[in-house]
């Protein structure tokens, strides 16, 4: 439907192209920190994109996605602890654990909606968090160092560059997929359910099945981000499963633009980028950061992606209608 590139897509596409070249530049400048930092950005972008399937398309406000990030991390850490470095085993553990936990928690959570849904997803994530904290033999509170990185047919995720490459490719693939998914029957059904759940049923679609599928997909994809994060840090820690992380993922999605194709990526870049910059100036960076988030929230529901799409008329609902004339550029009418 809306596959052609619009002006709003230009910035994220250029940004992605730049990120494709970044490891080479970082290597040339002998600044590996940048590769590590942006690998983290890419990984969080993957997690946010995963959350966007449930939150942005389906309107399912999950405050428990850190659970899946954590499951992904421990899918690497636990086998590695027992000397298994086979990446396929890690991957299978990640997909299976996130899939099963996503299915069970999703099944229960989706019996509710609104605030109750948020609270139940939060409760499940906290259960996971405290379970991991209590497992003293696996590091408990302190987390676990990972001595052996995931290895796929001899390709090891032991270096920052390797993780960076995989994360970049996965993010690009996911983003392309989301662009298709938004206008594919599954995505349209989810978006329809967010607008008017009752109406979806009356056109013959059992919405809860689609929402559960979206939730499980979202969980598994988030788990993949966790796998990458574990390899990048060579460390798995329960702190990545805390509800703060779940909240940060929501902020990234909302900041970038709920339901949009590039929103989660833009949100992750903005969130982690601003955090890094503000940290350099003051230790009270969170106070300033709060103001910035407030600003974006006030500018509209469409987030950064919406802002980028706005000046030139766009097809997205947020860029049209009553809001458009706020901008001077809207004098140019099609």
């Amino acid at each position: 439907m809306r596959m052609s590139l619009r002006t709003g897509d230009l910035v994220p596409v250029v940004l992605l192209a730049g990120l494709a070249l970044l490891p080479f530049a970082a290597a040339a400048a002998d600044e590996p920190f940048f590769t590590t930092f942006f690998a983290r950005v890419l990984i969080y972008a993957i997690a946010a994109t995963a959350l966007n399937v449930a939150l942005g398309l389906g309107g399912l406000v999950s405050l428990g996605h850190a659970l899946f990030l954590g499951l992904g991390m421990y899918s690497v850490a636990l086998p590695a602890h027992f000397g298994i470095a086979n990446g396929w085993v890690h991957l299978a553990a990640c997909v299976a654990s996130c899939g099963v936990v996503g299915l069970l928690t999703g099944y229960v959570s989706l019996r509710t909606s609104g605030i109750a849904f948020i609270m139940i997803t939060l409760a499940f994530a906290q259960m996971g968090y405290f379970l991991v904290v209590s497992l003293k033999q696996f590091g408990g509170d302190d987390g676990m160092a990972i001595s052996a990185a995931s290895e796929f047919f001899g390709f090891s995720l032991s270096s920052g560059n390797a993780v960076y490459g995989v994360a970049f490719c996965l993010l690009v693939a996911l983003t392309v997929w989301i662009a298709r998914l938004r206008s594919a029957p599954f995505g349209v059904t989810l978006r329809a359910g967010r607008q008017n759940a009752r109406r979806v049923a009356s056109v013959g679609l059992a919405l809860s099945r689609y929402q559960l599928t979206a939730y499980v997909l979202s969980a598994v994809l988030c788990g993949l981000a966790g796998m990458l994060l574990a390899n990048l840090n060579a460390y798995a820690s329960p702190s990545s499963m805390s509800w703060m992380v779940s909240g940060e993922l929501i902020v990234m999605v909302v900041l970038g633009g709920m339901g949009s194709v590039f929103g989660p990526f833009l949100g992750a870049v903005a969130f982690l980028g601003i955090e890094e910059v503000l940290k350099a100036f003051t230790e009270h960076w969170m106070a300033l950061f709060g103001l910035l988030i407030l600003g974006v929230a006030l500018l509209g529901k469409a987030g950064i992606a919406g802002l980028l799409a706005r000046p030139i008329r766009s097809n997205s609902p947020a860029g049209r209608g009553a809001k458009a004339p706020l901008l001077a550029e809207s004098g140019v009418r099609p």
Binding site: S183, G187, T189, A192, R199, A201, V203
Partner: protein, 251 residues
């Protein structure tokens, strides 16, 4: 004659209040059956039980010979029992065509398709365009639903129901809030749909009801008072007394 939709002793209570009281109703295949009744007669509650959105306390609903009392609205929609809403309920973020195509797809198949565009589904798209054309919205097919006027949104409701290629249409006050011209257009549209579909029409516009219906059922305080042809209803003393008051009915 075979009844396409049939209820038997359908009863719905809210506490002590009986909103649907022992209603046994038959709608024959191919007929346009209207339900009238004063405000609060329980018309929408009855429709909700027929569509599957509301479960009755007792009694049964049969559709096309099958007991569908326990079937939800999505299941009944897939069997061809489609409804439109009194309060317009369309997907604002989607275009007219997207709305209708989703309705066409949802009732025919499933939506577990993660890559190809919804509008790339030729079969669903064709059904959607048919429905849109029949509802008189062809010129606005690419407009977002949020841009439509009130009457146009009601037309979209109809287009969505028609796109599903229904066997049975439950129309809940399709003319509510419409201007005289818009209502006239809907009457013409319903005339053209008559016989092609079995229709159960709930409507306040008496002119429209008497012009369109083959048979009319009168609902009062949840009870089915009488069912008959427009002529019989018009001349029924009880109906006149209870529902139509002293006013002269449609001339």
């Amino acid at each position: 004659m075979s009844a396409l939709l049939q209820t038997e002793k359908l009863t719905k209570r809210y506490g002590a209040l009986v909103v649907t009281d022992d209603v046994s109703l038959e709608v024959q295949a191919g007929e346009l059956h209207a339900i009238i009744g004063p405000n609060g007669a329980g018309k929408t509650t009855l429709i909700n039980q027929l569509s599957g959105e509301l479960a009755p306390n007792s009694g049964s609903v049969r559709f096309a010979g099958k007991d569908v009392t326990a079937t939800g609205i999505d299941g009944r929609a897939r069997q061809g029992l489609l409804r439109s809403y009194q309060i317009t309920s369309v997907f604002d973020e989607f275009t007219v065509r997207e709305n209708a195509t989703l309705a066409a797809l949802g009732t025919q198949r499933h939506a577990f398709s993660f890559w190809t565009s919804l509008l790339g589904d030729k079969e669903a798209l064709a059904a959607a365009d048919e429905g849109i054309a029949a509802a008189g919205l062809a010129a606005l097919a690419d407009s977002p639903a949020s841009d439509l006027g009130y009457g146009e949104r009601r037309q979209l409701e109809l287009a969505m129901a028609l796109a599903a290629r229904p066997r049975f249409l439950l129309l809940d006050e399709p003319m509510a809030g419409m201007s005289v011209q818009e209502s006239a257009a809907v009457v013409t549209l319903l005339q053209s749909l008559k016989r092609k579909y079995t229709i159960l029409l709930v409507e306040h516009d008496m002119n429209a009801v008497f012009a369109l219906a083959d048979r009319i059922s009168v609902l009062v305080y949840g009870k089915l008072l009488v069912t008959g042809t427009p002529e019989e209803i018009r001349n029924n003393a009880e109906v006149r007394a209870i529902y139509l008051g002293e006013e002269e009915v449609v001339a």
